[in-house]
């Protein structure tokens, strides 16, 4: 992509982050929109060129902190005396400046951490619950199974290109795991999430009532989410569908059953 277009590409994305920060701040769903504003500034800066001299964009968001978790997110909370919960989101993302409608992989790198930290009132111990999504750094295109899944070259484990798993650094660096055991697998294949979609994911799962209100009443928020779903999930869905050469229509599975976060 030409440099001038890349500049407009980055500015558009930066402004989307600023608009998103405004909308979430107005609803008091973010404790501090600062990391999003900083990410917008970073996104707008000219990134490094690839070996093929292609323009890139990137941002690195650290500890974007949400408002206090509502009670309905704490259903089945364990340990029951966990308190002072704080949910933070880290997103490291980079990609090529691609035109709209392009079905290429939208990312060069991606790492998302959804972390909830708290304290046990009884013991005073720090508690953490963390989910990690990332883009596998070195995917193999075909494994011996012939199913087209990525394989971890080092350990032979199935390693979907984009996957969710429990844990991540914030959990692995702890020393006390109670009765829990951490393993790297399973890795759940999952469509990639940039910060817009990661925020929507967090709100849908942890702030469900506020999320429904936002989706119903806030056109700015919904249109931003829809735009990024199309940019990021459409290529993923197209790649998935290409395994069967199926068009979208005629499927026995309504898309909303598979993708409950889809707009419209």
């Amino acid at each position: 992509m030409r440099r001038v277009q890349a500049r407009g590409f980055r500015r558009e994305r930066a402004n989307d982050l600023r608009r998103l920060a405004d909308e979430l701040d107005a609803c008091r769903l973010l404790r501090d929109p600062g990391p999003l504003i900083a990410a917008a500034a970073q996104c707008e800066q000219r990134g490094t060129l690839t070996r093929q001299r292609e323009e890139t964009w990137s941002y690195a968001i650290s500890r974007l902190t949400f408002a206090d978790l509502p009670r309905n997110a704490l259903f089945n909370l364990r340990p029951e005396d966990a308190s002072d919960l704080l949910l933070t989101l880290d997103v490291d993302a980079s990609g090529l400046c691609l035109p709209d409608g392009c079905l290429d992989d939208p990312f060069i790198s991606l790492s998302v951490d959804i972390v909830v930290e708290g304290l046990s009132v009884g013991t005073g111990h720090e508690l953490v619950c963390a989910w990690h999504l990332d883009r596998h750094k070195d995917p193999q295109s075909r494994g011996n199974s012939g199913e087209g899944t990525a394989v971890d070259a080092d350990r032979g484990a199935v390693h979907p290109m984009y996957h969710f798993q429990y844990g991540g650094r914030r959990v692995w660096e702890k020393e006390d795991f109670g009765c829990h055991m951490l393993l790297e697998p399973p890795r759940f294949p999952h469509p990639p999430l940039d910060v817009v979609l990661a925020i929507d994911f967090v709100l849908a799962n942890y702030f469900p009532y506020q999320w429904r209100d936002l989706r119903a009443d806030n056109d700015t928020y919904t249109s931003i989410v829809a735009r990024y779903q199309k940019r990021i999930w459409l290529p993923y869905a197209a790649a998935t569908a290409s395994a069967w050469s199926l068009p979208g229509s005629g499927s026995p599975w309504p898309a909303s059953v598979l993708w409950p976060l889809l707009v419209g």
């Binding site: 405004d22 404790r31 600062g34 504003i37 900083a38 500034a41 800066q45 690195a60 650290s62």
Partner: protein, 387 residues
């Protein structure tokens, strides 16, 4: 010589120590004392040439013992305050009826609290506010002297860059010392200039830069925040000065008023950090110890010490400072301060639990934001139970 005209109704012997404390710190700074006159006479006097900027005492209507000998007039008690005078001058400057000068407010701390701080309406009229008692502290007097000089030169720069034909975004970047292709500045800052068809009065540009960019942290941060984000203890690190100079060369603010307000561009600091050699994490996500280790290795500055947290149990992933204790703080260990009228590019401010427990907030005019009030109350109760 930069000439400030200072209007105060107190007697000369009382106010001379403040004047001399500041004047002695600024080699080219002259402060001329005068008593306030009757309102029409004062307006006429201030419309004349002969000074570059104005200092006003808040309550011009309290004591009148005269500085008749220095002003050459008999004088009489007046019944108006500094805010009234400043408003008239700003309006006249906007209409082109008089020159637009920097206006500074000097007053006793108790009067600032009792009168000025309670009334928001006059807050935009003054470029700088000083408690007179603070001026007797040499470091503060030196800082105020630098700022007074910077205000005069800054007004001049603004007049040259932004007056006359209407400013464009390029003028704003020039005003802020940024190259035209600086592509990371929030466009909402630039539109402050570009949405106005006619040139704004100089004091409006000055107020925007001072209030929205220099005073409140966001895109620009001060030395305290710089040290917190780099994780460095300024007091115990012999190489702090060298580190600061190095960071200034890549991220220092060089725009209008920079000689009085030392600031750094936050996005450029983060970019500088990302480009440091070595395998290090994001600046915001690393501990002070890791940050210092990275800088020691990358820059060869061995005598850097990491900042200590306010309490041993607090995190060292400092990103802000406790507004009450003025010490580095991870927002995770703090509570949001209620701040009205913040722009989207302003950083949120925080206070630590220790500050909340100490009861120091009210004295500093700080309140916990309603969004964090429940957390603060729960933490307060827990702390009291364990005490």
């Amino acid at each position: 010589m930069v000439r400030y005209l200072y209007l105060d109704d107190e007697d000369e012997a009382t106010i001379r120590p403040y004047v001399e404390a500041v004047r002695d710190e600024g080699e080219i700074l002259d402060i001329q004392l005068e008593s306030p006159r009757d309102y029409p006479g004062q307006i006429e006097r201030l419309g004349q040439d002969g000074y570059d900027a104005l200092i006003l005492d808040l309550r011009l209507d309290v004591f009148w013992k005269g500085i008749g000998a220095t002003s050459g007039h008999a004088g009489s008690p007046v019944n108006y305050r500094a805010t009234t005078l400043a408003q008239e001058l700003r309006t006249r400057a906007a209409e082109g009826l008089c020159k637009d000068h920097p206006i500074i407010l000097w007053s006793m701390e108790e009067r600032l609290r009792a009168s000025y701080n309670r009334d928001d309406t006059g807050h935009d009229l003054f470029d700088l506010r000083c408690a007179k008692e603070d001026l007797l502290v040499p470091s503060r007097a030196a800082e105020v002297a630098r700022q007074m000089l910077a205000l005069v030169s800054g007004y001049s720069e603004i007049r040259e860059l932004c007056g006359g034909e209407g400013a464009k975004a390029a003028s704003l970047k020039k005003l802020l010392g940024l190259p035209p292709d600086a592509d990371w500045l929030d466009p909402r800052i630039e539109t402050y200039i570009t949405t106005h068809d006619a040139p704004m009065p100089v004091h409006d540009y000055a107020r925007f830069v001072l209030r929205e960019l220099l005073d409140l942290p966001g895109f620009l941060i001060d030395e305290g925040l710089l040290a917190a984000r780099l994780g460095v203890d300024r007091e115990t690190s012999r190489h702090w000065g060298e580190l600061k100079r190095h960071v200034t060369s890549v991220a220092g603010y060089s725009g209008v008023f920079s000689s009085g307000w030392e600031r750094w561009w936050a996005p450029l600091i983060e970019r500088w950090w990302r480009e440091l050699p070595g395998d290090h994490g994001k600046l915001r996500g690393t501990s002070a110890e890791e940050r210092v280790r990275t800088m020691r290795a990358a820059l060869g500055l061995e005598d850097l010490s990491p900042s200590s947290p306010i309490e041993p149990s607090y995190s060292t992933r400092f990103w802000t400072i406790c507004q009450a204790l003025q010490r580095p703080l991870d927002p995770r260990d703090g509570f949001l301060v209620a701040d009205a009228d913040l722009h989207p590019w302003h950083d949120r401010r925080y206070v630590s639990l220790k500050a909340v427990l100490s009861g120091r907030l009210k004295a500093r005019g700080l309140h916990v934001d309603p969004l964090d009030a429940d957390r603060a109350r729960a933490a307060f109760s827990r702390a009291r139970r364990h005490a």
